[in-house]
Symmetry: C2
Subunit: 396 residues, 2 copies
């Protein structure tokens, strides 16, 4: 991850600390090549061997307390105003720094809800408490969850431009698939073709290679989270692909739907066209309503209700999720009020969060109509990160 | 990692639970693609998304409690006698299982000392405690550190055979370097040559690519943990390389020393030859003494004292470390009584542990003499995992 982005994220973190009224945030790690706190890539970008504390303060000061062998590496990043190297133990320099700053609240990376905010191991938590034993600071530790979900959610300018590049590269591969698809090819053939292009371009899949890309053709395809099968593409099939890449540390996640014309057809049958348009319009309705302050469940309701009102079954998953360094990133999601989603459907959406919008519906006898777009929340609405699919793509 | 090895490790874990008098060991994880407990690769080999408990019992029973979406994957591994899938929460099936087994002690993966035993995050620790609230089990949690260091240290037959293959492949690359080295090439040239071979063979470096391989030529080279420089190999230089690969999930870690003959020389000068022999003999003295029950500090003393008795300065690091899936693996090490090594120099060595032996000494005006071998502790001694370097390699 380039230092430019890390610098932007550290500045954002300072804003967030002020907004959340927290004085200090410590990311406390060791041997990050073995066990890595998910935040290290976002705010440090270097590995640590000995116990290291990466500190961001509400007053804007940044400090790193690291083993002497890594001091120079960290100085080189230019990210931390104070780089304090130690030989014996991190304890003394850490206490010295805390006494100097005297923070009233100290956020550390643990969370019951969010794995991305839960990078602190229990052993390291115990060590930190040993070091703070007998000081006031021990009672000032709080969870960094709200800092981290805000920081990961609110994309910086550089993050957004990289995510747009990732989407552009991804759509080029969808275009190649449009030219490649023909009756007789299997779902696996299409997936292999995509993997070949990825390999040529040196792209990593955004999620497991078994299901990235996921390719579905025809009626009653495998469930949304299965890998490609030997099922053959036939005339009269709806074909979809769910696919994304990891690009400069950021993920893309898109879906497109194709229809394979039958002999004599020049357009899709009416019911196929309608199914596609219901999905397309559901996405637009959400895009028209989404903005800072609304909740994800409200957005899910809009799409879910519109689709069921048109006489289709509801999609068996959430409407959309945040995307970032992880394909499922951040806290809030465009989720229904289902227990497994916890409180995430009810969190207010914020400017600069990037969400997928990905409803689906089955068209009896033809297959599944589905589109997945990515939008970024703007001050008063949202912006598609790429031109949305407005028309069914016809395969002759 | 092949299931065969995982099966061997699970059987070893059962023995160790009996030996350590612990009833149950739970590896409790979630979203292992984001934050991975270092033990997952060794005892599961699959990713988890929802909260999952992988359980090994002293009575030999193995169980996995996993999200329903992953149940089939885990069943397929054939590693767990009971695979319990859940939809709502891991809590109920976990409590049911605990009530059924009623373990008197439950080891979980946390440790202040060992990062490899510290895969449980603090948030997951809190969740586990929430689930156990009001039960006796909450007070029966203990650290799995002694289980994990024994399990990682004691290599199974399959692990040893893979580690030998890794070493064989590594030595082939050292042999290629012997043919490649010539005056005028820089340390970086040699490193690039090694990286080219690794790329062709699809090998990963055993540690950071900046310092793997590490190449040193001539007098007063960069410190042992620096990367290759533009310094040129010259006639009359001692040249060394510290290098290892990651092969089928396991690391190798070896060093060899070459001498570049000066015009008219047919062998190395006496002081170079002596320096090399002192290192070679120091390693053999340790190999003669090392066996189960001795401590690492005793082994370090043997090499360190022998080298200083010969009038050379002591090496500025430990004599050796364990190797496994991580290049620095296991608990005990062949370390001096320096504070930063904690209790690891004083742990008794065990059969099947694999250690490096890597002393070094400077030869004034020529460079560094150093060799690194890997040995496995046997019932009554040790065995070199590859033929040790007995002669200085001469470059004409």
């Amino acid at each position: 991850m380039s230092n430019q982005i890390i610098k932007e994220k550290i500045l954002q973190a300072v804003e967030i600390l002020n907004e959340k009224n927290i004085d200090m945030w410590i990311t406390f790690v060791r041997e990050t090549k073995v066990t890595k706190d998910p935040m290290i890539d976002m705010i440090v970008g270097e590995h640590s061997t000995w116990q290291s504390a990466f500190i961001i303060n509400r007053d804007g000061e940044t400090a790193a307390i690291v083993g002497s062998i890594e001091e120079e590496n960290i100085v080189k990043t230019g990210l931390f105003q104070k780089v304090i190297g130690y030989v014996k133990s991190v304890k003394e320099p850490l206490l010295e720094y805390l006494n100097d700053k005297n923070p009233k609240s100290i956020a550390i990376n643990y969370s019951k809800n969010s794995v991305l905010s839960d990078g602190l191991t229990y052993g390291m938590y115990l060590l930190l408490n040993d070091y703070l034993e007998g000081t006031e600071f021990k009672n000032r530790l709080v969870s960094a969850e709200e800092i981290i979900s805000a920081l990961r959610g609110r994309k910086s300018d550089s993050e957004l431009s990289i995510m747009k590049e990732a989407i552009t590269e991804t759509l080029k591969i969808f275009d190649a698939v449009t030219k490649f698809i023909k009756p007789g090819l299997t779902e696996k053939d299409v997936a292999e073709y995509v993997k070949k292009i990825m390999k040529e371009k040196g792209f990593q899949p955004a999620w497991d290679e078994e299901t990235c890309p996921a390719v579905f053709t025809g009626p009653n395809p495998a469930s949304a989270h299965s890998g490609p099968t030997d099922r053959k593409i036939e005339k009269g099939h709806l074909v979809n692909m769910d696919f994304g890449i990891k690009y400069k540390g950021y993920c893309s996640d898109l879906q497109r739907t194709w229809y394979v014309l039958r002999d004599g057809e020049t357009k899709a049958p009416a019911e196929v066209q309608k199914g596609f348009e219901v999905i397309r319009d559901a996405i637009q309705k959400v895009a028209d309503a989404i903005k800072p302050g609304v909740t994800g469940v409200e957005m899910d309701d809009i799409a879910r209700n519109y689709i069921t009102d048109q006489g289709y079954p509801e999609y068996p998953h959430g409407l959309g999720h945040q995307v970032g360094r992880e394909v499922h990133d951040g806290g809030a999601g465009l989720f229904p009020r289902w227990e497994r989603y916890g409180n995430t459907p009810f969190m207010k959406l914020e400017e600069r969060q990037v969400f997928t919008i990905e409803p689906r519906l089955p068209v009896e006898g033809f297959g599944v109509a589905t589109i997945e777009e990515e939008v970024v929340i703007t001050r008063d609405g949202c912006e598609f990160l790429s031109p949305p699919q407005k028309e069914l793509i016809l395969i002759k």
